[in-house]
């Protein structure tokens, strides 16, 4: 306990180091800025700015990426509340009650509540992270290759099946990501795989190119001529953002409940923030005295989902940092950035790179505080940014995507990869496939393969090793339970047939 506090003190030292602090501020600011822009979710923002981090040291790079992440997450809430435009899927729930509040003239209060809820929830999430991570690491040190394989399998399965839409489609995309991860030189035998004779592919597919194709170009292709800038009447100033005393009282408990939901689900690998917010919203509606108010501007419907998504975000860093298993695509991206920097994620990360881990923890607090400080005076500017027409926004984004990918390795080949993944992603999206599991598979693929082969070498090709160790057997049991739940939900859904919403609805019940 006191050790954790000491480490935290050290972390603040790292995070407040002028150089690191500068990048953290820059990340939060730019994340917020781009997150506000319509159609730019956290994933798009991070993948666009990923190349920027290649040139800076690991610690400021990860601080900046984390800042971009929660900055864009917060920025997305602004668009959701004021314009009914969810640029990041978790905000779809915020729209349900946030936009009606704007129509009623209380949009400012909704934003204020969002800010408080996110700060509070993030603080709780950080506290959990501080005390849970070292514990988890102690357990994680007992993990051999077989156990790591099993937990990765669990993470992949959860990421594939718990995202939105059909679990089978998610599974297919995860497998596709694993295949993409296999492209390049095989580490053990040196064989070139799936390179089709291109030497540029020997190092594998470029993470930045993959992400920008899937979350940038593909998105643009799907949305061509579909997006219209909505007129915005609300004028926002600092005074509007202060909620009334009654609203505060109304939002207090939902905020705490939302935080609890987010913390709980954050500890589970693979449960995306979208599901977390849906569940938080469903709980609020279930326990409300008058459920009919929801959807018409109930402040509880804003406070609870926002709190849950922010606490989940923070808690999500626990498995990512201490086990090296990312919970969702954003975490996979952050992990990928660390790997590019030559830092192997896993249980040894906290002891080998305490500056990264504790600096990151401390920077969360600083970053979340910065968000509050930034957003109160800048809200007027954000509102104006919401009106940027797509015809300027998208070409400009395209321009930065090309430049960003090109400058990473000065390779035009990588820019071509962006185009290919963009087209592929657009095809997948239009067929109703979720694309974010691809990134999860892509980042975890090489690690999974390495550990699987090592485990097989150690056990002389006996698959029994996965069942013999109680830890990995437990994870495999969880995997099969997950599959069972999906099958049951599927059968029930097929029987009902009329019921819409599929797995998400079944889970939210």
């Amino acid at each position: 306990m006191s050790q954790s506090l000491m480490d935290l003190w050290y972390g603040f030292g790292v995070a407040l180091d002028p150089h690191n602090f500068m990048w953290s501020v820059f990340g939060v600011l730019i994340g917020n800025l781009i997150g506000v822009l319509p159609g730019m979710g956290a994933l798009t923002t991070i993948s666009m700015l990923l190349p920027l981090t290649y040139v800076i040291a690991p610690v400021p790079a990860i601080l900046m990426l984390a800042g971009i992440f929660y900055g864009s997450q917060y920025g997305g809430a602004i668009g959701a509340i004021l314009l009914n435009l969810p640029s990041h899927p978790p905000h779809a729930v915020t729209c349900l009650d946030g936009y009606p509040m704007t129509l009623k003239g209380r949009g400012g209060a909704a934003l204020g509540i969002t800010m408080m809820a996110s700060f509070f929830a993030a603080s709780v999430g950080i506290a959990v992270m501080i005390f849970l991570s070292p514990l988890l690491v102690q357990i994680a040190f007992k993990f051999g290759p077989a156990e790591i394989c099993a937990i990765m399998l669990l993470g992949l399965l959860a990421g594939a099946t718990m995202s939105r839409g059909s679990p089978l489609k998610g599974l297919a995309m995860t497998l596709f990501g694993l295949v993409c991860g296999a492209v390049g030189t095989d580490v053990i035998s040196g064989t070139m795989r799936y390179t089709f004779g291109k030497t540029e592919l020997a190092d594998g597919v470029e993470l930045g190119a993959l992400c920008m194709g899937l979350f940038g170009i593909a998105d643009f292709l799907v949305h061509v001529n579909r997006m219209k800038v909505k007129p915005i009447s609300a004028k926002m100033s600092m005074k509007d953002m202060r909620p009334t005393r009654a609203e505060l009282r109304q939002a207090f408990w939902p905020m705490i409940r939302g935080t609890a939901v987010g913390t709980l689900f954050g500890a589970m690998p693979g449960t995306g923030p979208t599901i977390t917010t849906f569940i938080a919203y469903a709980i609020e509606r279930k326990i409300a005295k008058d459920p009919s108010r929801f959807g018409k501007g109930a402040i509880e419907g804003v406070a609870s989902p926002e709190a849950s998504s922010h606490s989940k975000t923070q808690v999500d860093f626990i498995p990512t940092m201490s086990l090296g298993i990312p919970g969702d695509a954003v975490m996979a991206l952050l992990l990928g950035a660390l790997i590019i920097k030559g830092i192997q994620p896993g249980p040894q990360l906290i002891t080998e790179h305490p500056d990264i881990f504790w600096g990151l923890v401390a920077s969360f607090w600083i970053g979340n505080l910065l968000l509050v400080v930034l957003n109160v005076p800048l809200i007027g500017m954000w509102v104006r940014l919401l009106r940027v027409p797509y015809k300027y926004l998208y070409p400009a984004a395209l321009f930065f995507i090309c430049i960003g990918v090109y400058t990473t390795k000065n390779s035009l080949f990588d820019v071509g990869e962006v185009a290919i993944f963009g087209i592929l992603g657009a095809v997948f999206l239009s067929l109703g496939f979720p694309v974010s599991p691809i990134v999860l598979g892509f980042v975890l693929g090489p690690m999974l393969e390495e550990n699987f082969r090592r485990a097989m070498l150690l056990s002389h090709g006996e698959l029994r090793v996965f069942v013999d160790s109680p830890i990995s057997a437990g994870f495999l049991l969880a995997c099969s339970a997950l599959l069972l739940v999906q099958v049951v939900a599927h059968v029930r859904g097929a029987r009902r047939r009329a019921g819409a919403g599929g797995v998400v609805a079944a889970l939210a019940e």
Binding site: F176, Y194, K391, H490, A500
Partner: protein, 167 residues
């Protein structure tokens, strides 16, 4: 709508099966080995086979189960999307093609005889607005600003090509 989503599911499953078969097929050309001594092709083949199986499962379930629709219905297109698609993909492809030093020479030669304003005539209209050409000025400014720090290095070839496409 219902029939269309069913078709979409079937098409998706066919695509997944196709990728799976391709991956497994190519994977077999690498040494697969045994569980005890795995070759480079072992896991790729496993992934490919699994993908094929998932695709088959999708094809079966697309016939029996009602598709889960939790996506909000997309806003109807205001215009034919082809022009936008062509411009977006074409922009990236042109970056690659013109980013090549040979592309630069070609561009300089072409540009020499033209007034600078003329360069930015064709617009990539994401919003379906046909009168965008005139309103591109802020973007040009942004492009020019972005070009300043990068322009000094060798990267400017690609950048210039890109700027051309921004027009």
């Amino acid at each position: 709508m219902h029939a269309r989503t069913l078709n979409k599911d079937l098409a998706g499953s066919l695509l997944v099966i196709a990728i799976g078969v391709l991956v497994a097929g190519v994977g077999f050309t690498y040494r697969t080995g045994t569980l005890r001594q795995m070759g480079a092709g072992f896991l790729p083949v496993v992934f490919g086979v699994l993908m094929t199986l998932v695709g088959l499962a999708m094809a079966i379930s697309s016939r029996t189960a009602a598709p889960a629709e939790d996506e909000p219905p997309a806003e109807p297109r205001t215009d034919s999307p082809w022009r936008g698609w062509l411009c977006i993909v074409g922009g990236v492809v042109a970056f690659v093609v013109l980013g090549d030093p040979r592309g630069l020479l070609l561009r300089v030669a072409r540009r020499a005889g033209r007034p600078p304003e003329h360069d930015r005539q064709r617009g990539r209209a994401g919003g379906g607005d046909r009168r965008v050409q005139r309103r591109r000025l802020p973007l040009r400014a942004a492009g020019a600003v972005a070009a300043v720090p990068v322009g000094l290095s060798e990267k400017n070839q690609g950048l210039r090509a890109r700027r051309r496409m921004e027009t």
